[in-house]
Amino acid sequence: MGAPVCLEYRIEGNDFMVAGAASNNIKNTLKMLGIPSDVCRRVAVITYEAEINLVIHGGGGILKAEITEDRVEILVEDEGPGIADIEKAMTEGYSTATEQAREMGFGAGMGLPNIKRNSDIFKIESEVGRGTTLNCTVFFNKK
């Protein structure tokens, strides 16, 4: 049993030009490992949406992916404003994105729902004024 492959990226808040580059990197690594393409696609969606959230809302943060032989575990942490009503944030179409973000085509309110839909295990914790943490797992063979 080999050591897991750990990828970690620091995402800058409000840096729209490179937003998505880290999740792209993760996707290319998965391809190089020969991981099944549907897993790659799901991880790509989760990490992309999470990365965009870090840029738009979280003031930046950390995006980590840990790849083992049977799963990919994704950890997203920020020290941003936090989410007051998580249940509301999880509804499709609800967004607190700024005008600037909406002008760029973001803020459709689908980010968190998309992440949850593509995860086999989805955990979200948040505290207003402290930040938000996401923990998502994608298994190679769906259980």
């Binding site: 991981i35 965009i52 032989e69 085509g105």
Partner: protein, 438 residues
Amino acid sequence: MLHSVRISREACQGCVNCIKVCPVEAIRVVDGEISIISELCIDCGECLRSCHRQALGIEEDDWNKIKESPRITLIPDPVFFSQFSHYMNPSALEDVMSSFGYDMLIDEMEEAFDLSAYACAQMISHASKSSLPFISCYCPSVLRLIQSRFPELLSRVVHVCSPLELGADLWRMRTDSSNPVTLLSPCPSKITMIKEPQGRERSPIDNAVTVRRVARSIMASNAAPSPDAQLKERSNRWLQWARRGGEVRHLQAFSDRKLTVLAVSGLRNTLDVLQELELGRLRSVDFIECRICDTGCVGGIGTADSRFLANLRIGNIKTDWNVTESDIRRVEGLYAMDFWATTKEYLPRPQLPLSDNIADAMVKLQQMKEVYSCLPHIDCGSCGRPSCQAMAEEIVRGHGSVTDCIFKLREGIATLANKIVVLSESQPQTLKRRSGSN
């Protein structure tokens, strides 16, 4: 896989110029000469442009042999009409070509390009906002680049046959002729397009020669159009596809609303726009025209004249952008019967993982990172690979060794040399007493 770039063994010195410019890192130096990895090559011709020793050329069919057939049917790329300073009216060139016995399928080209523009405009109007922008498939190297590097963008590439091939399809359908058809191509990419089609089983075009080959022989002949020639008045919309912006202009002519379009040319611009698209930007755009060659197809390496002059000439051709009722009726009929549609999916190019087994691939990935960390990271190309990253990958896949890197080799020699110095300085006990003041 078939490609249209030819390497001259005698002229190639194994230098690293082409290796560094290839956008898909398809070239390596093996045994003192370059070798193009067939599975990676996209036929863009950047290697040809960068070669200082005329070691690379375009693989085209034998024009002399084609000229021997009883009937010579040609599909001229729009670029062909931009190559001459003395045939300003496209119909004049048509007349000259006829006098040589070359039958150019220009009516079919006009119709096929109209159909292609109409089909794309229709697809845009029926598309949901979230599925836009669409990407043009006209430049075969852009399609191959996307299949290779941006496979997630394949669903955005319009599934429309090349209008050059559609023209041949129209001609075959109406004349029922099985006579060979030859394409005059401005680049190696369109030559590969007909020999290894993407999106369809077979091409209706049999042969391809470069625009340069035929244009030069016409120029050399100094032929003039006959004074009493009936010069046809045509819309000439299709000729604008020879330069950047022509395709989107044509699409706009068949579109009810004002489209938001990008027209991009050149390798750097193509890579940048596709990367931006991949990162989820450009959402307000409807359609992207993309060409690998600077200035558009007039900048192809199979052309005979300056792309700057060719661009000007196309701009000076009288073009009728007013699409008439009969124009629309004509394309509507063909559109309804799906005449324009591709019959096969655009498939991504398979990327070889580091191993068939994920656990083994993970070990190899770690090894690759370790190998990479001890390389100099200057991407000099001396090892015959385009970058230190590519070298690390090849070593781990078993296609090379660390000493292929000239700096690692020198480092190895320095280490050995130091060992020799240390050994040479150590003296046996018996010699120490005799050396005097030691």
